[in-house]
Symmetry: C2
């Protein structure tokens, strides 16, 4: 799924509530409508949208009632900071058809040896461990982003000291974010290629930047280790 599409979907409060409900248990239209206090027509149109996006699916029970459930497993991550805005959507493939396969040897043995009730509680312990691990990872990511932003601040101070003029300032800032081409720099900085090129060459002579060629294009980037090798 396109991450922009998911953000469009999640931008609506009622759709978020529907997803929340379905993540709890499969539901049918009038159930959702009752819970949310929203007419069934509106609910159906939200459900259609969610289904088209592949986010939900349904199964039909004996009373021909459509039960909707979440079809997908994904993680959306949005980072907003003074120096970056990134949206990443990780679709996590679920190989749920495996269910029918015989359990792994280890597991089979375990089931035979232990009471199934004990086995269930063991699964649950593992589940709680995973939750803790998930929280730890989230905290690590947070610390990383703090360090990233602080480092960016220091890089910008450093750039201001080094740059001869404001164009160099902007170029170094762009290259700090990622390697890039002349064309992209012209577009982003709204400056004529000749101006940018002259500054790139100067920076390159002073040992700050270098280029590599990929797919017949010049990609400029900051030099990797240092000036002293020049």
């Amino acid at each position: 799924m396109d991450p922009a599409k998911l953000l469009d979907i999640l931008g609506n409060e009622n759709r978020r509530k529907i997803i929340q409900l379905l993540a709890n248990r499969p539901c049918y239209v009038s159930e959702i409508s009752g819970r949310l206090g929203v007419g069934p027509k509106a609910i159906i149109s939200h459900l259609n949208l969610l289904e088209q996006a592949g986010l939900i699916e349904y199964s039909v029970d004996e009373q021909r009632r459509k039960y909707f459930n979440i079809a997908n497993n994904m993680r959306l991550e949005v980072l907003v900071s003074p120096y970056s805005y990134t949206v990443a959507l990780h679709d996590i493939a679920l190989d749920r058809e495996k269910k029918g396969e015989p359990p792994a040897a280890e597991e089979k043995e375990a089931s035979a040896r232990e009471e199934s009730s004990f086995f269930f509680l063991k699964l649950n312990s593992r589940l709680q461990e995973l939750k803790t691990r998930q929280e730890e990872l989230a905290q690590m990511q947070q610390r990383l982003q703090v360090e990233y932003t602080e480092l960016m601040d220091r890089c910008l101070e450093s750039i201001e000291e080094l740059a001869k003029n404001s164009v160099e300032c902007e170029l170094l800032f762009e290259l700090l974010k990622s390697e890039t081409t002349l064309a992209a720099l012209c577009y982003n900085l709204r400056l004529h290629p000749s101006i940018i090129n002259a500054n790139l060459l100067d920076l390159s002579e002073r040992g700050f930047i270098e280029y590599s060629i990929k797919n017949n294009q010049h990609y400029w980037k900051l030099c990797e280790t240092g000036v002293e090798n020049k």
Copy 2:
């Protein structure tokens, strides 16, 4: 910020584009309007909304032009899976006022010893390391979510074997997700307290669940290690 508010904000394509632009560099209204091909009135109303939410702020230059920039540093994480829907917003406090402080001893020494240009390229190397680390963490989180969902699948199979009836099934499923109160169970399952209570007591006697008391409320949860201690 309330994560729902951020999702509302990000649900609009033009607002996403504005954030994208400002994460690149501070911009003023007519610049944004030109880039997006959207009238200045609409841009101003989006900017007001973003500013009220604390996501952006502005500074005024000599020509009295308002330059808007991203004021915040945060990470939004949305997990959607058949068994869970969680939205987490991590506000990452930036202690940017520190800037004025003298640099740490190590850093001071480094600046003195090395050319400032070399120092800048070293900062950049560290920045690239952080980016790599960020990607690694994202991958770890992904593997974790796969394992989580597979484990949930197995727990559900296990529940179906263990439960005497469908109410028990639903109760064990709810408790798998988190510990909870009788009242919350009644609300979520839409069942009379007497039915739920009878089933909870039965499950508790069979050693599956137990309660603890917090803030004068009974919280039910799955037993931690196993049945064999009973």
